[in-house]
Assembly symmetry: C2
Homo-oligomer: 283 residues x 2
């Protein structure tokens, strides 16, 4: 990857548009594909892409050396199935999808042999959607995970890492798709399930005047894109259910200890919790 590499972002939602803004700001030639003309118009007016299109044509797509898919998982698979002939020979394809096992092998299995797919997951985002909520700084210092398979070349892995560094990520790591999915089921999907469940417990309008920060913190992510997340959950169902069971077990253990006035267990869980949480303080 060099300064001359042309980068296409497919999907200009919050993440795609943030990628575009950051990479264009660094001087790269950046193109955009979107389903909506108004999004392309906005991206050009905002000077975050050099050119854009709502039509997927070989003429447009084959100009790009690197193609980043920032689509919902099913749309990503559909795009590859319908339009992969438009990709330039030798192009590198990457993505931002939040689940990996269900995506990586499938895309690699479908893709032409002269195009390589290296999967990546930027662990950053906002609970707000769309191009208007883009933020080139949202990746600063965040974690970026590359999930190669044996089919990937070292060069592709290096390029994915370079994209991560250019975007501003603070920590770039490599995991297998399976390791990624177990980890994401726990750290991200389970936490979203908890936040959603908490908000579903009761009509809470009258509670706004009484709340402290803890409820606000725990439910920030309860503002959730109901079109994207069920798809991600379904694509990582087995792992997510395993992590939900694990959480239910620990929550039940704490509940039983409280019910039985077993202060020792409650204290012990709090000490473990405090000890482990310290590691997550931002450096």
């Amino acid at each position: 990857m060099d300064k001359e590499s042309k980068i296409l972002i497919v999907g200009l939602g919050m993440i795609g548009a943030s990628y575009a803004e950051k990479l264009h700001g660094l001087g790269f030639f950046v193109g955009g594909l979107s389903a909506r003309q108004s999004t392309i118009d906005k991206a050009i007016e905002s000077n975050i892409i050099d050119c854009g299109s709502i039509d997927v044509t070989k003429e447009f797509v084959s100009r790009f050396d690197i193609v980043v898919f920032a689509l919902y998982p099913k749309k990503f698979i559909e795009w590859i199935s319908l339009y992969q002939d438009c990709l330039k020979s030798g192009a590198l394809v990457t993505d931002v999808t939040g689940v990996k096992s269900a995506i990586v092998y499938r895309i690699q299995g479908m893709l032409r042999s002269d195009v390589e797919f290296i999967a990546a997951h930027p662990m950053a985002g906002r609970e707000l959607q769309g191009i208007d909520n883009r933020c080139a700084e949202v990746f600063d210092g965040a974690n970026y995970i590359i999930t190669p398979t044996p089919a990937n070349t070292t060069k592709a892995i290096d390029t994915a890492a370079e994209i991560g560094r250019l975007l501003g990520f603070g920590h770039i790591s490599v995991l297998s798709p399976e390791e990624h999915d177990e980890m994401i089921a726990f750290l991200s999907q389970l936490t979203h399930c908890i936040a959603v469940s908490l908000m579903c417990c009761k009509e809470s309008r009258h509670l706004v005047d009484y709340t402290g920060d803890s409820f606000r913190d725990l439910t920030r992510i309860a503002n959730i894109n109901e079109n994207m997340w069920p798809e991600l959950f379904a694509m990582n169902k087995e792992q997510l259910l395993a992590q939900m069971n694990l959480f239910e077990k620990e929550f039940g253990r704490l509940k039983n200890a409280i019910a039985a006035d077993d202060i020792d267990t409650v204290k012990e869980m709090m000490i473990t919790s405090t000890e482990r949480r310290k590691l997550f303080n931002k450096k």
Copy 2:
């Protein structure tokens, strides 16, 4: 309550010391009681109290018109039982305790008839403890709840509200002790139980490099004072268990929907969640 009112803070932990700093900064004469001389020394050096003592004597305590207890619940009850004779006749006693039914009636039942106890709960705090972590601004814009009983005078309720305003709270409300406890069981105690359970799920050292903000947000309060919280849980056990059961039910509903590929239910819960969460965005 006038500018001449002398205020005693009993317990100079994070909350007590923050009260002292704010009220002293506003020009009130503020005294402090602490179990440790080093804390009193620090409070005087830091210019957040005018005088302090580690000994509870009538001579010291009877100088004050308003006495704010910022102790753990059991210590608060113990103090009243041992030292209430030291209080000035006509003094107003208030507190910062996080549970109310188990405290308010008990203290009011014990207290001399020439001293009035009006309970209050500042819904603000930090996950850090002690005088060194005091912060006079931690109350700015936060919620402050007064929980009177039929035994309280309007004058005492008004004074408690005035203390809340002076401290900087943005919203001051009045609830019965029972309403307070149900609300706090849901908004605060349940959320702490969730955060603790989540951290207890697995040894998570290796996950630090992969986490996004959602796990950090959900577990900020997992850094928890294991000496105070079990006491608060035990004193509000019935309500807390009811809220834990409610949460388990909703979490189980979501889990079953995911397991059954029931996308409609998952979506419906996410829409409810997003809708309700909007009300909690800070104004």
